[in-house]
Amino acid sequence: MIENLSRRNFLSRGGAAVSAVWLSAHWTAIVAAAEHAHQAAKSSTPPKFQFFTSEQAVEIDAITARIIPSDETPGAREAGVLYFIDRALTTFAVNDQETYREGLPGLQLRVRELFPNIEKFSAATPEQQDQVLHTFDDTANYGRGFRLNATAQPFFETVRVHTIVGFLIDPDSGGNRDGVGWKVIGRDRQHTFQPPFGHYDKDYAGWQPNPPDAEKAKA
């Protein structure tokens, strides 16, 4: 069992879900970015990027593909995350432009430090890429909160969060292309449901009254 007592800011407990803190200010633009990603991913001609140069796009794409890799199941690429981020950087995440602009060269520098024969991130093997990304990551705070990981390098952390949002955003809003992100996590897109809902309520025998010993239980 996981104790997560502090993960919710008590002040923001109005019923809004946990990730609202980060996203609340920007939602209109997130939808726009998601729709853009959706269109871009559907289109057969390569889309025009709003923010990235095509060289940058290749690198960012490679990073997102390590954050949520494509394997037996779809990953960030299949969900059109690159296009989601590209639109995000001209809309709700416009303040992160600098982070991307300055962060990417820093990442490339790290690639060459670790692997002198490799020119850029996208040219490295997946294993090498992971090695590079790990140097920007901070594992000390894993699983500890809902906020951005303040001790991780801002560039990597920003791409990480953007990738997750682009992958898991509500598909009806245009992102998370074809709902692949929800398929991966096993979330049905059906609109209404009937019990039994899951494994444990399948064979529920029905409500049985509590034994009448409440007074004893009252401490």
Binding site: G15, A20, V31, D130, I169, G186
Partner: protein, 410 residues
């Protein structure tokens, strides 16, 4: 079809202006208009209806479709009086006709007897100003019953041995049990506790104009698209409108209560959508604007006669605000629970509702319930087991295997 609704002129002195249309304002509107009074409800948010309550988790949560908007109404926060307050989202509340009752969890247990007399029972609490209520549970019991039957609450009377006495059972049976509820019930019984079917303000059986719950799962923090959640919007507001004496006026943000030289209120001043200011004249003003905005409005309405704000002879208006707080525990099970289906809570227990502060070292107590509120992005950001990588294959695999198998205790 909504009935023909009255439109009162602002210069028309109505019997009551009600500020806010949520859990309190809705009931006031219904009771007053049903008893023959002419009522205007001023609600700062829009008048949305079922068709507006989309299944778009991010639009609802991030764009604040149903809640107060930090950009429109920035708030700041500080922990001590000496600190400089910093801009921060300090409050989340429903900002629409129906108020927070539109998006609430719908947990609907009654207060227990202790809640009304806690000060007498446990004594003073250092650093706080604990008081008994001026009324007791017994005074309120008939009204609890009235509300449960009028708005529609699902539950099982007598299922919790800690429940206060009630004059009538719930009007309809509990909602179906969820996998999280079954696990909760089994585990609690093993520990000798007393789980019970959660009393929920959600219909388990249809009512005229309202569907029974369809288990869509977009419940906590969302508006109900089939009218199954017994919000003020789906219940009291509609009843008030049916009287033909109640006008619900949305997009009307009250910022001052006006008073004459005799110290009697004359009406409420509000901004409309276009930021024009109006005074709605009224014989009386009822302030139902939630725990934060109500004291704020009373303080904003200070005048020469009442320089410390209205209804503030005690000097404590705006102090001792206590917010909804609690802890959350997450657990992962072997098989899928699919807790995203259904509604938020199916089982709850009150074994720790009334505790002895001498024994436990703190005051108060509360319920524990199995509750779903982890939408996919939030889940990915923070509900994975400690030590889980936050990106890469293991992250993705854990996300894929845990989303359906996770449950939360509140």
């Amino acid at each position: 079809m909504r009935p023909d609704l009255p439109k009162y002129k602002t210069s028309d002195e109505v019997d009551f202006v009600i500020v806010g249309s949520g859990a309190a304002g809705g009931i006031m509107a219904k009771e007053l208009s049903a008893n023959g009074f002419r009522v205007v409800v001023l609600e700062q948010g829009p008048y949305l209806t079922e068709s507006d309550f989309v299944h778009d988790e991010v639009k609802v949560l991030r764009e604040d479709l149903l809640t107060n908007k930090p950009k429109l109404q920035p708030t700041s926060f500080r922990k001590t009086p000496n600190e400089k307050a910093k801009p921060q989202r300090a409050l989340v509340y429903g900002r629409l006709v129906g108020g927070t009752s539109v998006h609430f969890t719908a947990n609907f247990w009654r207060f227990h007897e202790i809640d009304f007399v806690e000060r007498s029972k446990v004594g003073p609490v250092p650093g706080a100003d604990l008081r008994d209520w001026p009324i007791t549970y017994a005074d309120l019991e008939p009204y609890y019953t009235k509300v449960e039957w009028e708005i529609g609450v699902s539950g099982q009377a007598g299922a919790s041995p800690f429940d206060p006495p009630r004059s009538k059972p719930y009007p309809m049976p509990p909602l179906p049990v969820k996998s999280s509820g079954v696990i909760f019930e089994r585990a609690a019984r093993k520990l000798g506790w007393h789980p019970f079917p959660a009393p929920m303000a959600i219909l388990s059986q249809p009512r005229p104009g309202r569907s029974a719950c369809v288990n869509c799962g977009f419940c906590l923090a969302f508006g109900c698209e089939v009218g199954a959640k017994s919000s003020s919007l789906a219940t009291a507001i509609r009843m008030a409108e049916k009287t033909g004496r109640c006008e619900i006026r949305p997009n009307s943000y009250v910022h001052r209560i006006e008073m004459d030289d005799n110290g009697r209120v004359t009406g409420a001043v509000y901004f409309d959508e276009k930021r024009n200011t109006h005074l709605q004249k009224a014989k009386a003003v009822v302030v139902c604007a939630n725990g934060a905005e109500t004291p704020r409005l009373l303080l904003l309405s200070a005048n020469k006669q009442f320089p410390n704000g209205l209804a503030n002879s005690s000097g404590i208006v705006g102090k001792y605000l206590m917010l909804n707080s609690g802890g959350v525990t997450t657990a992962v099970f072997e098989h899928p629970l699919n807790d995203y289906k259904g509604f938020a809570v199916s089982r709850i227990l009150h074994d720790f509702y009334e505790l002895d502060p001498q024994k436990v070292g703190f005051y108060g107590g509360g319920g524990i319930d199995a509750r779903y509120d982890l939408t996919p992005i939030g889940f990915a950001m923070g509900a994975l087991p400690p030590g889980t990588p936050r990106w890469g294959k293991v992250f993705k695999d854990t996300l894929a295997s845990n989303f359906n198998r996770t449950m939360e205790l509140f």
